[in-house]
């Protein structure tokens, strides 16, 4: 049942108004107005979203709210509309994005309090909220792509927010271009769907209609489309092989890292696959690839996070790793489990970044954990909230991450990917280790803070602390919406999502308790090891780094993947463009041929002089020859 609900458009309208206000009037009306309008519009959007979501909850399962905006691209047989649709899946997403988004906007008021470019910052943030909501609420694949590229743009603008630093600007561009590679796959996926359905004279990209006609795609086209769209997801959601932009994205302001590069935008790929689950279910090969890439990325990124000294870099690789879990979940066919982890991750990872931001803010920009330590007494709110978030990500019951991670690992095992389940368990152990390493290095032990910074140490203001506390509560209880087995309301979250994303069909039946136990043991081991290394025997990590120098350097340098890409892609591309295409072919061969008109091959040293003097005559000569030839040809035709 779909109900017309025009107020859905308001969820988009308010952030859009925020963009216009902050862009055109923000600099004039000043910080006070921007601080109200910037977060305000997102809070209002959250209010409208809540209203819509409650309306949806009151409807029977499988219901949806929708509003049609206007016909967009219509050409030939192809047509697509602009319209919004809120079902269980997009409802959950909208609540996460507007809710967590509003909190992070609020936090930004404090974090950006000393930045003169506050109006530009909130313009971008509101534009991001607007684009992300388009991505989520779009009722068709092409409109989703509008939001998809829109959030990419905002990501670029916000990574390069402090643009006077050339490295930051470069990192922004890197993010955009790597995402564009993914987007190219996304586009080809769209074309595959349009062309295949078009051959059956079905021309649509509307999700509801696509689902109705999905059978027409057939296995081959569904696999191709699923594979191509997943390329898009590896870009946006930072999976192997396109994850390389995300760690570099950390140079943006920390609220940006929390909102865009942890809680919301980077999960768009997971959302897209859950949204198109009906296509992926028809394409087991594509789905298997999603699970495999997810499992491998989870492990791969976690190993890098083990040794990073930069607090935000640890969290960045952790995000990549957790996104890997989500793909493992949806790739196992358990779409609801992926979305569940997406939600809890938005709470605890958003919180972790905000806490990291609070630490960085207190330390006047310091991000190196080697220069932290012992901060828990100076920053009690930050410490306790970050500790809760760490318990959540380390899957300690009853914190939220425990329920969602368990569900994913169970799904991975039950769908027959037992080796991916095993990777997931290992990753769980690594996760606990690097997170507690972060906590211990930052908040415990002796202070290693520079003495002049020590004086300025202060807990963050209320405007930053309140979002931390709210998110800490969510990170604690967020997982309770889906309790295992028949406990209380049971798996209510999964049941709520099932009409929208389809039910999970296990292949293997395993005891959930023993699976859960394995993961919990791994997790506990990780915590214990971190405790041992960073609190009890602080000399051990250094010793290990020294004894296993090669392995340590490999991890510290992120397996040298950036260097590898640079060596096999970037440098050859520029070299060929400049030396082969630009200089050799364009300037010398093609233009040379034109200039000399086949009469003179010039040596490069003479180009400038000859071009000014001799060429006009060459041209005149060639022109004459051509004209004569044409006249002769015409005469020939007439007499023939």
């Amino acid at each position: 049942m779909t109900v017309e609900f025009p107020a859905l458009a308001l969820i988009l309208l308010f952030p859009a108004l925020g963009v216009l206000f902050n862009l055109f009037l923000g600099p004039r009306y000043g910080r006070g107005a921007v601080n109200v309008v910037g977060p305000g519009v997102v809070f209002v959007a959250f209010g409208v979203a809540t209203w819509a979501f409650l309306t949806l909850l009151a409807m029977p399962p499988g219901g949806a709210l929708a509003v049609h905006l206007w016909g967009w691209i219509e050409a030939g047989r192809f047509h697509t509309e602009l319209g919004l649709r809120l079902d269980a899946l997009s409802g959950v997403m909208v609540m996460i994005v507007t809710g967590v988004g509003a909190l992070i906007h609020l936090y930004s008021v404090g974090y950006m309090a000393h930045d003169e470019d506050f109006a530009r910052f909130f313009t971008y943030m509101n534009l991001f909220a607007f684009s992300m909501l388009i991505l989520i609420l779009a009722d068709n694949l092409l409109m989703m792509f509008v939001g998809w590229e829109g959030v990419g743009l905002c990501s670029y603008l916000l990574i390069a927010f402090w643009y006077t630093n050339p490295q930051f600007a470069y990192n922004g561009r890197k993010a955009f271009v790597v995402n564009r590679i993914g987007d190219a796959g996304f586009l080809l996926g769209i074309f595959t769907i349009v062309a295949t359905l078009g051959a059956h004279d079905v021309w649509t990209l509307d999700f509801v209609e696509l689902r109705q006609h999905a059978a027409l795609l057939g296995g081959a086209a569904a696999t191709a489309a699923g594979f191509l769209l997943f390329i898009g997801a590896t870009g946006k959601s930072a999976q192997i092989p396109l994850y390389v932009w995300l760690p570099d994205a950390m140079v943006g302001p920390t609220p940006v890292s929390a909102l865009i590069h942890a809680a919301t935008m980077v999960t768009a790929g997971v959302y897209m696959i859950a949204r198109l689950g009906f296509i992926y279910t028809m394409a087991p090969a594509a789905l298997g690839l999603v699970a495999t890439i997810g499992g491998l990325t989870a492990l791969f990124a976690a190993t890098i996070a083990l040794v990073q000294p930069d607090i935000k870099k640890v969290l960045a690789y952790s995000t990549i790793s957790q996104l890997g879990y989500m793909f493992l979940g949806v790739g196992s066919g358990a779409y609801a489990s992926g979305i569940f982890h997406l939600m809890t991750h938005a709470f605890f990872k958003g919180l972790l970044f905000l806490c990291a931001g609070s630490v960085i803010h207190a330390l006047g920009g310091e991000q190196d954990m080697n220069k932290m330590g012992g901060l828990r007494r100076k920053l009690p709110i930050t410490f306790w909230t970050m500790f809760i978030a760490t318990l959540a990500i380390a899957a300690v019951p009853p914190f939220s991450g425990y329920f969602s991670k368990d569900l994913i690992l169970e799904a991975a095992y039950d769908s027959g990917h037992s080796w991916l389940w095993f990777l997931g368990v290992i990753t769980a152990g690594l996760t606990s280790f690097y997170m507690f390493r972060l906590i211990f290095m930052t908040f415990f032990g002796e202070s290693r803070v520079d003495s002049e910074k020590e004086h300025h140490l202060h807990e963050s203001p209320a405007v930053m602390a309140i979002p931390l506390i709210v998110l800490a509560i969510l990170a604690t209880v967020g997982g309770w919406v889906n309790l295992p087995g028949g406990l209380l309301w049971g798996n209510a979250f999964v049941r709520f999502l099932t009409p929208a994303v389809g039910a999970f069909k296990p292949i293997v039946e395993a005891s959930p308790t023993s699976l859960s136990l394995a993961a919990s043991i791994a997790s506990a081991l990780g915590i214990a090891l971190a405790y041992l290394f960073y609190l009890r025997l602080p000399g051990v990590p250094m010793l290990l780094a020294w004894r296993l120098k090669d392995l340590y350097n490999l991890l510290l340098n992120k397996y040298y993947i950036d260097q590898l890409y640079n060596f096999i892609v970037t440098r050859p591309l520029f070299w060929v463009s400049d030396n082969v295409l630009n200089r050799a072919i364009d300037s010398f061969v093609i233009d040379g041929a034109a200039d000399g008109a086949g009469l003179a091959v010039r040596t490069s040293g003479q180009i400038a002089r000859r071009a000014e003097t001799g060429n006009v005559q060459h041209y005149a000569f060639v022109y004459l020859l051509g004209a004569l030839g044409i006249v002769a040809y015409y005469l020939f035709l007439v007499t023939h």
């Binding site: 206007w70 192809f78 509008v146 643009y163 190219a184 080809l188 074309f191 520029f574 006009v616 060639v622």
Partner: protein
């Protein structure tokens, strides 16, 4: 009745040009030039209002005998293919004049405005001609004012660039002239009547060889104009050395004469050859897309960079045209408009920078955002339009083109998306080097942000980008009927070709199989 509407549209700028010759005071020259560009602009919007979106044929047509001895008529009309190109022309001429009056052109403003308006007459005439002879006259007329615009008001090696531009075009046009004459000659043989009228010439039966040669002549003339790889090298020189207004019109409208020529003449006159040539032209288009992007990336000069980006973007247009399906061709026409708006906008922006710094070297800039935030924001939007960000105009065209190409030859779209990636790479890199980073040159510390006049020039450009990105339907629905009619010719040709290519397969089918295949069709026909 709207008799004379299109004639008025074509010749109003010419009258304005003559009027300006009588002016001597500089302010009066600029003002009257601007007003005389506003008149055709208003008239073109009136044409849009009068245009019937459901009609595929020429509208508002006028036909008078001109040189009856050779069957040459003054036959003009407008259809969905030319409608918005006419609007693009009138808009860009107005914006260019508004911009140029703000200090860009200081020498001989009277002659400059004169040539700009003559150019407008040439462009509009070429777009509205239905008679091939008339078309050819206007086609050649366009060259002369552009030659002078580059040669007199250009920079650097302007004479070289101007001559290169004219000669490249002239070589192609002469071949086209021969082809036109041959076509008319064949028409005379067949219909016993001499005529340059396009609808009649569409009907001329040609042998395969004749068709191929004539198509080649037309295609070469238009390919040079587009410009397609590898006949593009006149473009970077012409663009770089032309004055800003010249680059805007050259890129914004004149290049479209090439792609327009394919749509209006080369493809519908020789549909069979066009269908045969699909793989060749798609390949050349793709080479242009990728090659143009990679070479653009390496240019140290902003204008040269945009010139090569035009090679890439016009490659997209050609790809859409030779998809020869409504999605691709609609997209190609839309992309012609997009490219006019976004590249026109880019050239205007570079012109504004040049006025302030008298250089276009990318390495001369850096960190400009801090000094000129409004300029930087406008540049950002124009750049995003150019790289096809969804929500802005460029995406609609690129998407339809690639979809059309995918429906024709899948691999073509795979290569085309590489162009989309590279487009983002070189544009963002350029933006980064100009706007981001610290200010590296002291002279850049003092440059001023956009003036009121410059904002007035750029505001319509931005508005068009947003409107065309969000509401493409009012445009495409007017474009499409004429495209469908044009494609009908190509579809017939394609069906015939497929039959000819596979006669054996048809014969090899057993009679029983053939009947069973035919049955549903016959049943459908009977119904």
């Amino acid at each position: 009745m709207n008799g004379g509407l299109l004639t008025a549209l074509i010749f109003l700028p010419l009258i304005g040009a003559l009027f300006i010759l009588m002016q001597s005071e500089e302010r009066a020259i600029w003002n009257s030039a601007f007003i005389f560009s506003l008149l055709p602009l208003a008239l073109s919007f009136y044409v849009l209002a009068e245009f019937n979106p459901h009609v595929a044929e020429y509208q508002l047509a006028e036909q008078y005998d001109w040189i009856p001895a050779f069957g040459i008529t003054y036959h003009i009309g407008i259809d969905g293919i030319s409608l918005f190109l006419v609007l693009l022309t009138t808009i860009l001429i107005t914006l260019s004049l508004l911009y140029s009056g703000g200090g860009d052109i200081e020498e001989r403003p009277r002659e400059f405005c004169f040539f700009m308006l003559v150019l407008e007459t040439g462009l509009l005439g070429a777009l509205l001609s239905v008679d091939l002879f008339l078309f050819y006259i206007f086609w050649e007329v366009m060259l002369i004012p552009m030659y002078f615009l580059i040669g007199m008001w250009g920079h650097g090696r302007k004479i070289y660039a101007a001559i290169k531009f004219v000669l490249f075009t002239a070589v192609g046009s002469l071949l086209m002239l021969v082809a036109i004459l041959y076509l008319v000659y064949s028409a005379h043989e067949h219909f016993n009547r001499t005529s340059f009228d396009l609808p009649l010439l569409y009907q001329v039966p040609l042998t395969v060889t004749e068709g191929r040669w004539l198509f080649a002549a037309f295609a070469l003339a238009f390919a040079i104009k587009v410009p397609m790889w590898p006949v593009h090298t006149w473009l970077p020189d012409a663009h770089t050395n032309a004055p800003t207004a010249g680059s805007v019109i050259l890129a914004g409208v004149m290049l479209k004469m090439g792609t327009y020529g394919f749509l209006r003449f080369a493809v519908p006159l020789f549909p069979t050859v066009a269908v045969e040539a699909i793989p060749l032209f798609m390949a050349l288009a793709i080479i242009g897309i990728i090659y143009g992007a990679l070479v653009a990336m390496m240019q140290p000069d902003l204008k040269r960079l945009i010139a090569y980006s035009s090679v890439s973007h016009m490659g997209f247009v050609m790809l859409g045209i030779f998809a020869l399906n409504p999605e691709g061709v609609d997209g190609a026409i839309y992309q012609m408009l997009n490219h006019g708006v976004s590249t026109g906008g880019l050239f205007l922006l570079v012109g504004m920078l040049y006025m302030r710094r008298h250089t276009r070297e990318i390495s001369e800039f850096g960190g400009l955002w801090k000094r000129v935030p409004v300029y930087a924001a406008v540049f950002m939007v124009v750049m995003l339009s150019s790289i096809g960000l969804p929500g802005l105009n460029g995406f609609v065209g690129e998407f339809l083109i690639m979809l059309g190409a995918f429906l024709r030859i899948r691999l073509a779209a795979v290569f085309a998306v590489v162009g989309v990636i590279l487009g983002a790479l070189y544009m963002l890199w350029t933006y980064e080097r100009v706007m981001f980073g610290p200010i590296t040159r002291a002279v850049n510390e003092t440059i001023g942000d956009l003036t009121g006049r410059e904002i007035a020039v750029m505001a319509p450009v931005i508005a068009l980008m947003l409107f065309m990105g969000l509401f493409p339907r009012p445009l495409i629905s007017r474009i499409e009927p004429s495209v469908t009619a044009m494609l009908a010719r190509a579809n017939v040709a394609q069906a015939r070709l497929e039959l000819e290519r596979q006669p054996n397969r048809l014969a090899a089918l057993s009679p029983a199989r053939q009947i069973s295949n035919r049955k549903p069709e016959m049943a459908a026909a009977a119904r």
